[in-house]
């Protein structure tokens, strides 16, 4: 991060009903960042967004916007004119689509021809210009959320906060809107924070990623950094690294590790000491299946195993294997029938050494294995 932070959070503490629901030691956003907050329900994502939106006063700690602390209701009120939040439900006013966008602008003192122009511009951006005269009560879920986003972005906020704006939409609608929003955020250079429980959504829109659990940020960093180097088993599973294997280092040479796990040996890229216990993670999409070992493949790891479970998973099937350790992968319906994958079927699972991510190393030769 080279630019000065736009938003800075320090030692934030939010309580509700006497219980601490959010505790953030520090968090910073540079202009143009799109930060995704991911975590399960109740992790504190919405609470953090409401605090960043200055809609919730923290019990302790400071939120700074462009260096100025939002420490009084007057300052929070002024700040709320520079930030906008979009919720899971569109929360539209009982008027037309155009009226909704204009209401937001009216609150900012934008009226007349300038208002009309900006309503039109925002509506065109979100592909709802043909709906401007339609009642907001007669919109589909996707159109409603587009209206809510247009209303928010018409205000040209310096910070846009999005609280699971796609989670109530069906998958094709969600996908189209995500593409449009991603493009608009890029075009306008808007700094944004997006709360979601879907890592794919985060991967598509965000430049930075923070994983929350029980009101705390477990890990925060660049998108690739967190996705590929989760620092914690919970983060690993939440960012889609579903197979977590506790291993022991039996050889270490020039950045390559040979690891023992469940009676098998696998090769990983990473640094660790001989004899050390390490936890590694493998993404399902990095595991391929075949019926026999392929000598011509560049995949350094080819381990025989048995299919234990096949679960239909949207357009794919999720296949779980036992190779002495548990592994899972996704296959297409074609592969499923071509390889005749069913429980009990012997297969070979292949994955590259670079697909094995070291998540955690035990303290030097620690006696207790990871589990």
């Amino acid at each position: 991060m080279s630019a000065a932070p736009l938003l800075e959070v320090q030692d934030l503490l939010v309580r509700r009903g006497g219980a601490t629901v959010l505790e953030v030691a520090s968090l910073a956003l540079a202009p143009g960042d799109v930060l995704a907050l991911i975590g399960p329900n109740g992790a504190g994502k919405s609470t953090l967004l409401l605090t960043l939106a200055a809609l919730l006063a923290p019990a302790a700690g400071t939120v700074r916007f462009q260096g100025e602390a939002l420490d009084s209701e007057r300052r929070r009120q002024a700040f709320r004119r520079r930030v906008t939040m979009v919720f899971q439900e569109p929360l539209l006013f009982d008027t037309t689509v155009g009226g909704n966008i204009a209401t937001g602008l009216g609150l900012h003192g934008v009226t007349g021809a300038e208002c009309t122009r900006r309503v039109q511009e925002a509506a065109e951006r979100f592909g709802i210009a043909h709906l401007l005269d339609r009642s907001a009560r007669r919109l589909s879920g996707g159109e409603g959320q587009r209206t809510a986003l247009a209303r928010a972005l018409a205000l040209r906020p310096e910070l846009l906060l999005l609280d699971e704006p796609f989670s109530a939409l069906d998958p094709p609608t969600r996908s189209g809107l995500m593409d449009d929003l991603g493009r608009i955020l890029g075009d306008t250079g808007t700094t944004a924070v997006l709360a979601t429980h879907d890592q794919a959504e985060a991967a598509r829109l965000a430049t930075r990623l923070a994983v929350l659990k029980d009101g705390r940020i477990l890990q925060e960093g660049g998108l690739r950094q967190v996705m590929n180097h989760p620092g914690d088993p919970f983060v690993a599973t939440f960012v889609g690294m579903e197979s977590l294997l506790p291993c022991r280092v039996i050889a270490a040479t020039e950045g390559l590790l040979t690891l023992a796990v469940g009676g098998q040996e696998i090769i990983a890229v990473g640094e660790a000491e001989l004899g050390q216990g390490v936890l590694v993670g493998i993404r399902p999409e990095h595991v391929t299946l075949s019926l026999q070992i392929d000598k011509t493949s560049s995949a350094r790891n080819q381990v025989p195993g048995t299919v234990t479970k096949v679960i239909p998973w949207g357009p794919f099937h999720r296949v779980e294997l036992s190779c002495g350790f548990d592994l899972c992968t996704w296959v297409t319906p074609q592969s499923l029938s071509e390889l005749a994958l069913a429980p009990g079927r012997p297969v070979v699972a292949a994955f590259k050494a670079t697909a094995v991510h070291v998540i955690r190393t035990d303290s030097q030769g620690g006696p207790e294995p990871l589990g």
Partner: protein, 232 residues
């Protein structure tokens, strides 16, 4: 049946003749109940907004009291207001018992809880996050309240109609605190009661007819306001 036809005929005659006494009674009814409703809108909506937007201990009890107040019997209100305004009563010095002001006061006491209770229900029916959404669009607190009221305008105007309907048709309190004094506190309902008890059914019918038209006209106006500007 004849009685009804004769009543309608005479009502029309009284109306067309612009009988000054009937006209006076009608205008007084409209003025008294209109002002009472206006006061109730200010107090009732104020209370509804205050309760809807704030969390405080005992909120449920307050809401229960407001809802109970919606069913306040006019005669009970009449009794209390009479006692309070009685010459030796705590507010006797005002000297407004048996004046239109007393009827306005009593009717406001009847209509305020109706508008407050239905208004609160209307505001509580809005999505809870709407308030946060409005604030996050940069609204001040008063702009937020205005937008919430606008958003709930359908049920809110229904609440106003219920309040007005309650007091324009109310007779018990009006008779008790107004006294049905000719030319001063005689309103449509109290006059109807009096004419009926005297056996002047034609006049009673005429007054009832006017009352119905009045109630209808005011509600038609409010309905127009309610439905205006609604996109289809």
């Amino acid at each position: 049946m004849d009685l009804i036809w004769e009543g309608l005929r005479q009502a029309l005659a009284l109306l067309l003749a612009l009988d000054p006494e009937v006209l006076g009674i009608t205008l007084l009814s409209l003025k008294v109940s209109g002002l009472a409703t206006l006061i109730s809108v200010v107090l009732g909506l104020g209370a509804a907004v205050a309760v809807a937007l704030n969390e405080f201990p005992g909120k449920r009890v307050v809401i229960a009291l407001m809802n109970t107040g919606m069913g306040l019997p006019p005669v009970v209100v009449g009794l209390f207001v009479t006692v309070l305004l009685w010459r030796n009563g705590p507010f006797g010095f005002l000297g407004i018992l048996y004046t239109p002001a007393a009827i306005i006061l009593a009717q406001a006491v009847i209509a305020t809880p109706i508008i407050a209770g239905l208004g609160l229900a209307a505001l509580q029916h809005l999505p809870p996050a709407l308030r946060l959404q409005i604030l996050s669009l940069g609204a001040t607190r008063s702009q937020m309240i205005w937008l919430l009221l606008k958003e709930a305008r359908l049920p809110l105007l229904a609440a106003v109609m219920a309040g007005f309907g309650g007091v324009i048709s109310e007779v018990g309190a009006s008779i008790m605190v107004g006294g049905n004094l000719k030319g001063s506190t005689r309103v449509l309902t109290t006059a109807t009661v009096m004419e009926t008890s005297r056996g002047n059914f034609e006049v009673a019918f005429a007054l009832s007819f006017i009352l119905l038209v009045l109630a209808f006209s005011v509600n038609a106006l409010l309905t127009h306001l309610q439905q205006r500007g609604r996109p289809r």
